[in-house]
């Protein structure tokens, strides 16, 4: 029983981390219909910024996280405005090609700057844990989970209670109509992309503190975000959290009760089952119906 609870707690926390990584990816896909293949690279850039701040200036990664997010917010805005805006109306494969190219450049840039070595942001406490009746709860992961929930709540509030959030939502539903209402679509898109990049950077800082990272991880992180976004459903700010938690629990329980080698098969099995039952993902349906393409 202890083992089951331990696996559940750990899976839940792991799910929070998954969600943290995927939330920005899901936002951009949901609002702009862009599958950002450079998302994993953004996460890594955030991790490297936090790592550099930690090793060079001794700044705690949980503070460095804000600096990383700020950098990527600006970077994301510029990238969207100058590059991705060019293909936002183009067929999906153009955006795939562009973001894939961006990913290659970022990953190779990171290799050139930091080599392909594995890094980890060392803190005295992130891998420590407290125990409740023999169940271990690691601080770093708990913080990651709390952050994922907090950011999701903030995003939900932002999207439904602020003018800017509503503008983003409206642009996502029907760009032409939104423009007719006086919403500057370009600016809104750039802002959405900037928010997503900032979220990715924050996730990178946390991920780099809890585990290890190297430039080669970019593809894996993007794929993971893709699975979670599809699993959770697009266009709903809760989607990433739901997808992340489901995936985290599936992996934890699968690893505990079936062979550890099957973890990936179980994760994708869950995805297939969810998509059969709910083709728009766990929470995806209500919003996507409203989308008007073009």
């Amino acid at each position: 029983m202890t083992q089951f609870i331990q696996a559940t707690v750990y899976g839940l926390l792991q799910g929070g981390l998954f969600a943290l990584v995927a939330v920005g990816f899901s936002l951009v896909w949901g609002v702009m219909n862009i599958v950002n293949l450079a998302h994993g690279a953004f996460v890594l850039v955030g991790a490297y910024i936090a790592w550099k701040l930690n090793t060079a200036a001794g700044i705690d990664p949980f503070l460095g996280m804000f600096a990383a997010a700020a950098c990527l917010f600006v970077g994301g805005y510029v990238i969207q405005r100058l590059l991705i805006n060019l293909v936002v109306n183009a067929p999906i494969w153009m955006t795939l090609l562009l973001t894939f190219g961006l990913e290659l450049m970022l990953v190779n840039g990171l290799i050139a700057l930091f080599t392909g070595d594995f890094r980890s942001i060392n803190t005295s406490y992130a891998n420590d844990a407290f125990s409740i009746a023999d169940i271990r709860v690691p601080y770093g992961r708990l913080f990651g989970f709390a952050l994922a929930v907090a950011l999701t709540l903030a995003l939900v509030a932002f999207m439904s209670h602020t003018r800017l959030g509503l503008a983003i939502k409206a642009t996502g539903m029907d760009r032409a109509a939104a423009r007719l209402m006086g919403i500057p679509a370009r600016h809104i898109y750039a802002l959405t992309f900037a928010i997503a990049a900032a979220l990715a950077a924050a996730a990178g800082a946390i991920l780099g503190t809890i585990g290890t990272f190297s430039p080669a991880d970019a593809g894996r992180l993007t794929l993971q975000s893709f699975v979670i976004a599809v699993l959770g459903g697009l266009g709903n700010m809760w989607g990433a959290l739901a997808g992340g938690v489901v995936l985290g629990l599936a992996e934890a329980w699968g690893g505990q009760y079936l062979s550890g080698t099957l973890v990936n098969a179980i994760a994708f099995g869950v995805l297939v089952v969810v998509l059969i039952v709910r083709p728009a993902g766990l929470l995806g349906k209500p919003y996507y119906e409203l989308r008007v393409d073009g």
């Binding site: 202890t2 083992q3 331990q6 696996a7 750990y10 792991q14 100058l82 590059l83 060019l86 562009l98 190219g101 290659l104 450049m105 190779n108 290799i111 080599t115 392909g116 070595d117 594995f118 890094r119 980890s120 060392n122 891998n127 420590d128 844990a129 125990s131 271990r136 690691p138 770093g140 992961r141 809890i210 585990g211 290890t212 190297s214 080669a216 992996e251 934890a252 699968g254 690893g255 505990q256 062979s259 550890g260 080698t261 973890v263 990936n264």
Partner: protein, 406 residues
């Protein structure tokens, strides 16, 4: 569109530049009568880029030292060594294709790619083409069970990796561990490592409580760690590569897995990244390695292991470690084989390598009928005060084993 948006042009140029930067590295020039051209397909990019670069450094050092000492003398002629590198992007299929392309270019002598999967793929092609390959890093025993005659490995086989640590702990750890759990990645190499380790544990009277597996390259090994914790073993042995090795130590700390003795892991602990990423948590972890600078034996090109280490440091500025040493040793075996054959003809070189029996900075090089270097012994290190020190075998020992480790 480009007129309106110069950014597109910038992107296209940058993408093209990134594309050009990949792959095609230095070519060895056109073959002349006095050049011995050797092919090496290596993981210069992709997930194994780090190890691929280390392997390349070993090959480069060998090429430079052999050439500085007059080159390869065979049949009264002296050949300049020229190694052509190609990037297999860490994909076994690509490695095999590149080796096949070497054959099309009449390059019959080949140095191994990085890692067991790529080596296994390349070995099949080498066999078909009648090329000769000296393998520097493919340790999986499966490579040597297929009856291949053209592939030789200078390194100890996978079964030795955990076995040598069990031997070291059984003879030196006080108290001797009574129980062990193996945590293994699910690739062929790691599974063979775990199997070899479990057999040795039986032999040494250490009870194997379980072998838990997780996917290769996984950064989350929590399920295996959680299961191991419930078994409360004296010793936890990881049959892993670097990423999984780091994950085991990190997640054991999170989940409170504290074996009474300590942790032992293959591959990961001797690499500088292990201590750098884990900091204090790396302390006391035992690891096995193909080579340490304390290895005895010398050869005419590199001298002793210590001399090899100082040449390496002088050339590359970093400390010599085992990946590059394996690579240099593979190149050495190919050079010595060619010299003994007195010819660069692949069939003759093959036979001479098969008969090779030579000491070297890497330890003894002598192959059994399947192409494995079985005379060489692996070494065991332990992280002490943030550095890997050699603890086993005793003639290489720098410092005594600390046990319990933490």
């Amino acid at each position: 569109m480009t007129r309106r948006h110069p950014a597109v042009l910038v992107l296209v140029v940058a993408l093209a530049a990134a594309g050009c930067g990949k792959g095609q590295s230095s070519d060895a020039g056109s073959p002349t009568g006095d050049t011995l051209k050797i092919g090496a397909a290596l993981s210069l990019t992709g997930s194994l880029a780090k190890e691929g670069q280390l392997t390349k450094q070993g090959y480069q050092l060998c090429e430079e030292i052999v050439n500085s000492k007059g080159g390869v003398s065979a049949g009264g002629k002296s050949y300049k060594l020229a190694i052509a590198y190609r990037d297999d992007t860490s994909e076994p299929d690509t490695a095999a294709q590149l080796v096949d392309r070497f054959n099309d270019q009449a390059i019959k002598l080949v140095l191994g790619p990085y890692g067991s999967p790529s080596t296994e793929a390349a070995a099949a092609v080498v066999e078909k083409n009648g090329q000769v390959m000296v393998d520097s890093s493919g340790a999986d025993n499966n490579i040597f069970t297929k009856g291949y005659r053209q592939t030789f490995a200078v390194l100890s086989p996978a079964t030795s990796y955990a076995k040598v640590m069990i031997q070291a702990l059984a003879s030196q750890a006080k108290p001797k561990p009574r129980t062990v759990v193996f945590l293994s990645a699910d690739d062929g190499f790691s599974k063979t490592v775990a199997k070899g380790g479990a057999e040795e544990a039986h032999k040494q009277g250490i009870k194997v409580l379980a072998t838990e597996t997780f996917p290769e390259k996984s950064t989350d090994v929590s399920a295996a760690v959680n299961k191991a914790k419930s078994l409360n073993p004296d010793l936890v042995v990881g049959a892993v590569h670097l990423v999984e090795g780091i994950a085991i130590i990190k997640q054991s700390k999170e989940l409170g897995l504290k074996p009474a003795g300590g942790f032992a892991e293959t591959v990961a602990p001797p690499t500088p990244d292990f201590v750098r990423t884990l900091g204090a948590s790396a302390e006391g972890v035992v690891g096995s390695t193909q080579w340490v600078p304390q290895v005895t034996g010398e050869d005419k090109f590199f001298g002793t292991a210590q001399e090899y280490a100082s040449s390496f440091k002088k050339r590359f500025g970093s400390d010599a470690e085992y990946h590059s040493a394996e690579a240099a040793a593979a190149c050495l075996a190919l050079v010595l084989g060619t010299e003994n054959a007195g010819s660069t003809e692949p069939a003759k070189v093959r036979d001479a390598i098969a008969r090779l029996d030579s000491p070297s900075f890497f330890g003894p090089i002598k192959f059994d009928s399947t192409g494995k270097n079985v005379t060489k012994q692996m070494s065991v290190i332990q992280i002490q005060d943030g550095k890997p020190v050699t603890v086993f075998p005793t003639d290489q020992q720098q410092s005594a084993l600390k046990w319990p480790a933490q």
